[in-house]
Amino acid sequence: MNQLMSNIKNIPGVVGVAIFKDNGELVAYDFPEAYDKKLLNLMGLKFQPIKEILPQEEGEIVYLCWEYEDLLAFYYPVGGGWVNIISGEDIPMPVFSLTMTAVANKLPKLLEEAEAPRARDEEPLAAETVENAIPREQLEELEKFFATYLGPASAVIFKRAANHLGYTLNNMPKAHLVDLLQCVLARVPGDKKDEVTEKIKEMSLDI
């Protein structure tokens, strides 16, 4: 694992590397001190739903790369997990592609055996977030309620609204329930909006 990380870190321009399992668990990292472990766990939480979100018909991702003002952020999926890399803009892409192809071949086996480098008293961030997620039963109840106004598309609209807010229905925080409902309410026909708002208030949900 360390050798693979070192190979990635040696690509000119690479600032940091973090390797995660599919469940969002950070298994290895090499980042400058300014990026503490809590921040890297947060990185896992942000990227973990990607494999779940992207529909099968989208095909397999080679990589995703967000371009910021001075830096690039890569998401590179491998069997059993993924690699996040932050680099400068001048990263040589042919070297990156070759290195990552080799990494993708070797990493799945190492991920199977890997354990997270976590301190004993440290709470896993993902578990904490799932704990604060909107309960599935409440979401199903709301989907059923909205189906009266949106028809059978209600469940799809909920899923889409969660995605638009940057979450999935499995990790949508309770604190964002109102935002989720507002997104879904926007899809309700205009003449029914007031009625739906009133009924939601009756459920003790203020939107």
Binding site: L42, I53, L54, V62, L64, C65, Y68, H164
Partner: protein
């Protein structure tokens, strides 16, 4: 205001049509409403996943003090896509297989500079 928005979209559309690397494009807002598309054969899932990835990148950029992303390369085994923010819109560009991202981005930004 409506007219100026339409003019702006028409200008953008003309510009995108002039780039040979673009196979098809969709101009959407962050709520997933489609404002213009070069094809009627677009996939809702592509729009949703592009918006999701954009939001993820924006939050990630905020938490890591990198700011807002300018664009997202969405490179799949079956196709190449570039998601580009333009004012309040997201432009989802489906590129031809032989397109090179750095070259294409340079061309795109040159054209953006001309219409701004």
């Amino acid at each position: 205001m409506g007219d100026s928005r339409n003019d702006s979209l028409a200008g953008l559309s003309n510009m995108l049509n002039s780039l040979k690397e673009i196979e098809s494009y969709i101009i959407t807002d962050m709520e997933g409403r489609i404002h213009m598309a070069s094809t009627e054969n677009y996939d809702e899932n592509t729009i949703n996943s592009s918006i999701y990835l954009w939001v993820t990148g924006s939050r990630f950029g905020g938490e890591f003090n990198m700011g807002e992303p300018a664009n997202l390369i969405y490179y799949l085994k079956t196709r190449k896509m570039l998601v580009q923010k333009y004012n309040d819109y997201l432009i989802i560009l489906n590129l031809i297989d032989i397109a090179k991202f750095p070259v294409f981005k340079r061309k795109l930004y040159d054209l953006f500079n001309r219409i701004i």
